[in-house]
């Protein structure tokens, strides 16, 4: 039985701080003019106004994660022999991710299909996922660049969350989404929501209805793929792109990584760091050849992966949750929505032309 609960505005921070005594609490806080997810402490300035500037993905997929540590030493008695000692480093901390937006939480489902994909389980990701309770916060004031509703989501959705907070007059209604969300809440000193549940539903409904419409961006797998060799199209789209990593690194669904050994003297770490397909190094081969040698091919991959290759492999689910961060923070204001719409128009026009 899943029970909704309620917390008053002024009780929220003390409650989160009490949680922080036994586990890491990650929440959107003000940091140097930005709102970013960071471990909460008594000095933190919680910011629940809008969408955080960076996504919450680092909670499950850190920017840089140590996969293992190693140490070289001279073999005993045999000076020419080098011994190598390797230590496993698995995540061991329980965490509570608070204030992720529904799009952020949905982003985790994109990761789940890849890192927890049945036969292929990434132990680092899965351990973190198991140890982290995801508490999403329903949106009440979507930004002009939000489009979750065009990619299969919504400002009050629960995909990927264990718990959903909905702002109501004077506080928040807290609804468990998963069994583990319920189990977690059952141990908390929270009052039952009683009559407030209907109010929360109404808030979510009003916000969802207030969002501007627009064509859904799903179902374009075929169209995007058909443009694979259309250099002119991708060249035109990517002309202004700077080939940086801002879009991918802020994106709650981009999950590509690189692995390197970083060695200092006899000690080293194997780290996994974020990588992104807009970078020249991404597909640079050892021979020096790069199959994606220009920004047009890189842009084709970014759009193709999100709107064609990923949904093709994963039952039509897109690898974009419509948070709009790549639009707001792109130094040249690239618009992912417009690119997909253009791709679709172009592919349809080409097809009609072929039928002429």
């Amino acid at each position: 039985m899943l029970t909704a609960r309620y917390i008053a505005d002024d009780k929220l921070m003390p409650w989160l701080l009490s949680l922080a005594e036994t586990r890491q609490v990650l929440a959107p806080v003000r940091q140097g003019g930005q709102t970013l997810f960071a471990p909460l402490d008594a000095d933190s300035q919680l910011d629940l106004e809008g969408l955080a500037d960076a996504s919450a993905k680092a909670a499950l997929l850190p920017r840089c994660e140590t996969l293992l540590e190693f140490h070289y030493s001279k073999g005993e008695g045999v000076p020419s022999r080098t011994e190598l000692e390797v230590r496993e480093t698995l995540p061991d901390r329980d965490a509570f991710l608070f204030g992720a937006r529904p799009c952020d939480a949905k982003g985790f489902t994109v990761f789940d299909r890849v890192y927890d994909g049945g036969s292929r389980r990434d132990i680092y990701y899965c351990t973190r996922r198991d140890k982290t309770i995801v508490a999403a916060l329903a949106c009440t004031d979507p930004a002009d660049t939000c489009f979750c509703n065009r990619v299969g989501g919504g400002p009050g959705d629960t995909d990927g969350s264990d718990i959903l907070f909905t702002p109501v007059e004077g506080g928040y209604v807290i609804e468990p989404v998963t069994e583990r969300g319920e189990a977690f809440l059952a141990e908390q000193p929270l009052v039952e929501a009683e009559g407030r549940l209907e109010e929360a539903r109404q808030v979510r409904k009003d916000v969802a209805e207030s969002m501007p419409g627009g064509d859904p961006l799903g179902g374009a797998q075929g169209e995007v793929l058909r443009l694979f060799d259309d250099q002119e199209f991708w060249g035109g789209v990517a002309a202004k792109c700077l080939s940086c990593g801002a879009c991918s690194y802020l994106c709650p669904t981009c999950y590509c990584f690189n692995m390197t050994d970083e060695i200092n003297g006899d000690d080293g770490v194997r780290v996994r760091t974020w990588d992104n397909c807009m970078s020249f190094q991404f597909t640079l081969e050892g021979s020096g050849h790069n199959p994606r040698n220009g920004k047009a091919q890189r842009m084709r991959n970014r759009i193709g992966h999100k709107f064609s290759y990923y949904p093709e492999l994963h039952d039509g689910n897109l690898a974009c949750v419509g948070c709009g961060r790549c639009i707001v923070h792109c130094p040249v204001s690239m618009d992912v929505r417009a690119i997909v719409a253009q791709a679709r128009d172009r592919a349809l026009a080409k097809q009609e032309h072929a039928n002429d």
Partner: protein
């Protein structure tokens, strides 16, 4: 401004037949910043926008388009980047057609978004008049003190008119002036001890996500795809998330642009984490000014000081040490 934009469109239409493309700005998906527009057909000219939201420095595209005949629209600071690119022979003067404008100041999109709140109704116009910025939202004018929404680089603008150009459009004028200029990060840092400064940068760099937008947006970062930051061999910077490594990259960028950086502000504007990284370049530029009496991007015929060798520098009395 309305007349400037019409004149600009007319001039571009006239020049377009002799050019491969013209780079200008168009309305973007975000109501607070416009976006680069690559014009190849006359019909595209109508999409041109010109107001304080034209923040991108389009000069950075030119080295990558070398060999083509390109028209480009520039503000005062963008023109200084052009001068630097010409000085360094990274672009060819005869291939570039420059449309220069007088700039009234560029709006800092992040600051404005914070000050204005929801923009779901869109913005019809943005303008700067004297010490205020006006935003017209669904017919409702909102004014804000200019100092609150102006890009930081504009407070120290040394000339808002494009000084090199083939076609100057509109009236000449002064850089934006605000009555109270907020202290720059450089001034704040200068008041700190070395230890405090290190602490400051450690804190800032802890937020760096290593997206390298700062580098990609810099019109003078010429290595781009072959950046030292991503080279494994030699291994200048490691890939761990340590602020030390990230600051190391900023040091590389600052040293690679020492005496070349025109303070166009793109690195800082592009940084999605809002890190005050132009400060490092400003500090080096102050030293270059003291040592060589030189400011980057002012004279196309001068060579940048670190591009030249003199046995005896005027202000570095090495033999007297």
């Amino acid at each position: 401004m309305a007349s400037s934009i019409d004149d600009l469109k007319t001039e571009i239409k006239k020049a377009l037949p002799g050019l491969d493309m013209v780079i200008a700005w168009a309305a973007g998906p975000d109501p607070l910043s416009h976006t680069p527009l690559f014009i190849t057909e006359e019909a595209d000219v109508e999409r041109i926008e010109w107001d304080p939201r034209c923040s991108q420095n389009l000069a950075g595209y030119l080295p990558g388009l070398r060999g083509k005949k390109v028209g480009i629209v520039v503000k005062g600071c963008d023109a200084r980047s052009l001068v630097e690119l010409l000085q360094e022979k990274l672009i060819d003067r005869e291939d570039v057609t420059i449309f220069g404008l007088h700039c009234t100041g560029a709006v800092d999109a992040r600051a404005a978004r914070k000050a204005l709140g929801s923009l779901r109704g869109g913005l019809e116009s943005v303008s700067v008049n004297g010490g205020t910025a006006s935003f017209s939202m669904s017919g409702e004018p909102r004014t804000l003190p200019l100092a609150e929404v102006l890009q930081k680089k504009c407070f120290t603008c040394t000339g808002a008119d494009a000084e090199v150009c083939d076609h100057f459009i509109g009236e000449h004028g002064e850089p934006p002036r605000v009555t109270e200029t907020p202290a720059t990060t450089l001034e704040e840092l200068e008041a700190m001890s070395m230890e405090e400064r290190l602490h400051f940068w450690e804190d800032q760099m802890s937020r760096c996500i290593r997206c390298y937008a700062c580098r990609s947006a810099c019109p003078l970062c010429v290595c781009q795809d072959h950046c030292a930051a991503q080279s494994r061999e030699p291994h200048w910077v490691d890939q761990t998330d340590h602020p030390r490594e990230k600051l190391m990259f900023q040091a590389i960028h600052a040293l690679h642009t020492a005496g070349r950086c025109t303070e166009c502000g793109e690195c800082e504007r592009a940084c999605p984490m809002g890190l005050p990284i132009m400060t490092l370049k400003q500090a080096l530029n102050r030293s270059i000014q003291d040592l060589f009496d030189y400011r980057a991007g002012t004279d196309p015929d001068q060579a940048p000081p670190l591009f030249e060798f003199r046995e005896e520098e005027k202000n570095i009395k090495e033999r007297e040490w």
